[in-house]
Amino acid sequence: MANGNGSSNDRHTELGLKEEDLVEMYRFMLLARYCDERQWGLNRQGKAPFVVPVSGHEAAQVGSAWAFERGKDVFCPYYRDLALTLVAGFSPKDVFLGLFGKKDDPSSGGRQMPAHWGARDRNIITGSSPIATQCLHAAGIALSKKLKRSDAVVGTWCGEGGTSEADWHGAMNFSGIHKLPLVLVVENNQYAISVHVSKQVAGSVHGRAAGYGMPGAVGDGNDVLESYKLTKEAVDRARAGEGASLVELLTYRHYSHTSDDDDRTYRKKEEVEEWKRKDPIPRFEEYLRSVDLIDDAKIQEMRDDAKTTVDEQAKEAEQADFPDPSTGYDNVYAERVEVR
């Protein structure tokens, strides 16, 4: 279905992707999907009070993340970006340490809710709950890179709801004015919790780029290769000093907004089912089969591997220690300030 146009069977070669890239991308998508399934299971068991699902967004996230150079480029993600965060260097265990709020959670040492990603050693900038604030940090970091004559590129992600926030427009405006090495990716899943995109966005997300003097691309966010392609063009542009770009990836989340939401109150079952049929993972499997990279046996083996990895690492995280309450005052300031 994905590449049913039959024109070319090796889109990836055209994009400069090697077979190893494809297998790795597929593996990350599987890991993300199984992390999601596991975290929902833990939620149902009462072991994880809060879950932010990623299922449905794997192609958009893995594809866009793959366009960046790990170790050099900078990631400013949002809470939905579990798959992206795996690509950027989190292990499934790291994800579950955060889910349980454990001491060794790389993002926050158990201080933030799950899915508030961050780790300096992986160039993932700490994120918060207020929507789209990270887009301005990304613009500031991109300015810093430009001033330092570095060729690093900064990526920032948010949902289509995020594009309504002043912070997002500020980041677009500033990076447009200063031609910053920034790529703004929008994972448009049509809903901001319950609010449909038709009530969120006048015109279109990608159309807003023109007003900020930068290119705005839009594409199929359930197609990992297209997500990669559009983002890679933007990253290349940024690295060449040509400035910022906007990439809108159309996708859909399979589950509720979070474990505290019930999507049946605002989405029709048929609509959800229709989008589940466009699931990015089977779609990518189809492509991998079509270029003879994997067969059914290999798919099964990789799925089993990913599932086992996730289950084992989730268990390890579950057994890890919670932070000691005596550390509660740590890191408010560089040095402790007593309040009497």
Binding site: R120, T126, L136, A139, G140, L143, A166
Partner: protein, 327 residues
């Protein structure tokens, strides 16, 4: 050593710091060609160029958010909020982001940035060019809020702010800009945060204030001296960290405390000072703690009569100090 007013001192200090450390840059509205509406960055554009003197779009949220990104990536941004009253579009970035980044990342990230903001009334600024914002920001763990009231402190505290590893809100009272002059050493020095300065010794009562109000308090205290009333005047200098020890030590000797602030009385920064005196020195007191502050109306109306009504004055302070001394 040379005598300067406060705004010139901020200008000179920032200029010297930018010469010294090329990680320091300024960003804000009109900071470039115009040199800032109060002339704090006058001449900076010619000296340091557009890379380090950045005229931003008119967007305080952007100013704060971009400064955070710069700081995270190792720069030392000095963000100017043209007036403290207009810092609120950036409130979310300052309070939710800058203040919380160290804590929420458990020390993995930090935000060494300075936000400069001209604040305060008595300048015919009416409702939107007169506000005191220190209580909003000092309430937030993760921020430091300082209010230098003399040129000497303006220099030492700005350098301290630039050396501080955490975000600092550096408030400059607009009325002190040209009114307050003082000797400023040429050499580089810092004034540590969280150290109040006992500027006028006295034995009859302790008056605690900061910013413009500090100067009014000293003047009122000097008047009372002729009548044999000796008022001890403390300049807090830093709202957070708060040097309550210096305050308590003084109140322990004078046994009377007055807190003076220009902000609305209710939940202003002085309310915390009064609460801590009550909490830690109740039995040292010979009189109830007195707070002199702005009325509970939006700060502050424009007509001279109304503006005067809003602001504590030397006359009203003198009267109130006398009453407390006589208690």
């Amino acid at each position: 050593m040379s005598e300067k007013n406060l705004v010139q001192t901020v200008h000179d200090t920032l200029f010297d710091e930018m010469k010294r450390d090329d990680r320091v840059l300024v960003l804000g509205e009109d900071v470039g060609a115009r040199g800032g509406v109060f002339r704090v960055t006058m001449g900076f554009l010619d000296e340091f160029g557009e890379d380090r003197v950045i005229d931003t779009p008119l967007d305080e949220c952007l100013i704060a958010g971009v400064a955070i990104g710069l700081a995270i990536d190792g720069m030392r941004p000095v963000a100017e909020m043209q007036f403290a009253d207009f810092s609120f579009p950036g409130f979310n970035q300052i309070v939710q982001e800058a203040a919380r980044i160290r804590y929420r990342s458990n020390g993995d990230f930090s935000v060494p940035m300075v936000i400069r903001a001209p604040y305060g009334g008595g300048v015919h600024g009416a409702l939107y060019h007169s506000q005191s914002v220190e209580a909003f920001y000092a309430h937030v763990p993760g921020l430091k809020v300082v209010v230098p009231s003399t040129p000497y402190d303006a220099k030492g505290m700005l350098i301290q702010a630039l050396e501080d590893p955490d975000p600092v809100i550096y408030l400059e009272h607009k009325k002190t800009y040209r009114l307050i002059k003082g000797e400023v050493p040429d050499e580089r020095y810092t004034v540590p945060f969280g150290k109040a300065e006992l500027r006028r010794p006295g034995s009859d009562l302790t008056v605690i204030s900061y910013g413009l109000m500090h100067h009014l308090c000293v003047e009122a205290a000097d008047r009372l001296s002729g009548d044999g009333i000796e008022v001890e005047v403390i300049d807090l200098r830093s709202i957070f960290p708060l040097d309550i020890d210096t305050v308590l030590e003084s109140v322990g000797r004078t046994n009377k405390a007055m807190v003076v602030y220009e902000d609305n009385k209710f939940l202003g920064a002085g309310a915390e000072v009064a609460a801590q005196i009550a909490e830690h020195a109740m039995f040292e007191l010979d009189a109830p703690i007195k707070r002199i502050a702005g009325p509970h109306v939006p700060a502050m109306p424009y007509a001279p009569t109304l503006e005067h009504w809003f602001m504590p004055s030397v006359d009203s302070l003198e009267q109130e100090m006398r009453k407390l001394a006589d208690y």
